[in-house]
Amino acid sequence: MAFIEIRDLTVEFTRIAEDGSEVPGTRAIDGISLDIEQGSFVSVTGMNGSGKSTLAKCLNGLLLPTSGNVSVDGMNTRDDDKLWDIRSRVGMVFQNPDNQIVSSIVEDDVAFGPENLGIPPLEIRKRVDEALKQVGMYEHRLKGAHMLSGGQKQRVAIAGAIAMRPECIVFDEPTAMLDPMGREAVMKMILELNAEGITTILITHFMNEAAQADRIIVMQKGRILADGAPSEIFMTAEDMAAELKRIKDR
């Protein structure tokens, strides 16, 4: 059984009309089935509005499927009792480094996740120190979050995710708002974490980042356009152009 199993996943966003009734809006994800193996490094790419971020939010139950199922380690994200268990196993790092840091002080922010899990104080201390050392931010642990650069903030956000000891981390365009230096540091972190056995899902627009994964999934209009090893994906560029044309004409 794969670590994450997605079966016929469809997500539709409803819109509230002027009279207050719900009107079906866009279909962000249109019948996707996927298996993500434990320890693998998968990158998801595609144009804006292709459903990448929606897919990411389905992996830890931030969004629930309109139809179909997502299960993590055998637990369905629809199961309310398992929700916190799922979220502690599937960590998430978002695009904007500013809007995911909760506490003013670096180490307090990293402790936020473990605190929510109800872990004893001494164990939290240990995890926070380890997580900060791992991302190379230990010496900045007492600094104010607003004094850090974008890349440093993003590394703090990664520390916040790894302090929960997840089995999988979903990165939703973590480098999109960073300068080249910050981007490189964050990418190095991601590769290191994957080498340690953490299942990694990286959503990105940058092909050089996507190419470092074991497997690339290309999305288009809520569907999977291509799925394979980087060498396969980049070889079939001509085929993909034909496929894009076919979808457009339809």
């Binding site: 916190w84 960590g91 809007n99 607003h146």
Partner: protein
């Protein structure tokens, strides 16, 4: 100027004052404020000033850093002093049309000025020596008995944590919006007070919208990190009372007694 406000900022350190329990510091600060209003002569302020100086020395926060906080609220102090200077009736020293300065006015102005300065420095000592998280944790614990009458102490504390965290972020956002509007030809410098106030609308509306967007993203990030209310939550640094807090409590009682006693000092060289 906004960046100069040290009020509410934290100065990292490991002094005796830094190590005190946040609850002790909150209560001490509240008491200190009340005591400043008990004081009715300059002898009381002398004692209050000496006590504050002792706390500052113990905290090892550089005085320069503390006084920088004062410059930001200088206008408020100046306004109070000037108002008192001209508004108090009594023995007239100097008069020009409706403006007059009296002996009593000078005394009142100096009195209010000293009181305000001590008040601001005193309260900023609390925030300078206490981490925001400890401060909100302390408040949460102090307010927890109120849970029984339906006061959501955890939620209030979390709201304060997030508010403190997002002050710099929202200031950056405001800066960005101002620059974007200026780049498109917006003029914030000319016109009278009302015209200028009206010109703030193109700043406030985008700021309002972006703070909603930030709140939404933050809520998502918090949920992704398993936040589900205060129930079953633990803390990395649990706050505990130590021996230092007991000593502080004793000193607070002595200080209170001295301040009350200072009301009865009648010797006045002025």
């Amino acid at each position: 100027m906004i960046r100069d406000i040290t009020l509410g900022q934290y100065y990292p350190g490991n002094s005796v004052i830094h190590r005190l329990d946040a609850r002790t510091k909150i209560i001490a600060t509240l008491l200190y404020i009340i005591e400043l209003f008990i004081v009715n002569n300059f002898w009381g302020f002398l004692i209050a000033g000496a006590a504050l100086a002792a706390v500052i020395a113990l905290s090892r926060v550089p005085a320069r850093f503390i006084f920088r906080g004062l410059t930001a609220v200088f206008l408020i102090i100046a306004f109070t002093v000037i108002l008192n200077l001209f508004m108090v009736d009594g023995r007239v020293l100097w008069q020009w049309k409706f403006l007059k300065i009296t002996y009593e006015g000078i005394w009142r102005a100096a009195f209010m000025g000293v009181r305000l300065v001590l008040l601001i420095i005193g309260t900023s000592m609390m925030t300078l020596t206490t981490k925001p998280v400890e401060l909100t944790d302390g408040l949460e614990k102090l307010m927890s008995p109120l849970n029984k009458i339906g006061v959501p102490s955890h939620e209030i504390a979390l709201m304060m944590t997030i508010a403190l965290r997002f002050i710099p972020t929202l200031m950056e956002e405001t800066d960005k919006i101002i620059k974007a509007q200026q780049a498109r030809g917006a003029d914030f410098e000319s016109g009278n007070l009302f015209q200028r106030a009206a010109k703030l609308i193109p700043i406030l509306i985008p700021l309002f919208i972006s703070s909603f967007r930030i709140a939404q993203e933050l809520a998502l990030a918090m949920e992704a990190r398993c936040y589900h209310g205060g129930k079953g939550r633990t803390r990395m640094n649990e706050i505990h009372f130590h021996r230092g807090d007991a000593i502080a409590a004793v000193l607070m009682v002595i200080y209170l007694a001295v301040i009350i006693a200072s009301r009865f000092i009648t010797f006045n060289p002025f």
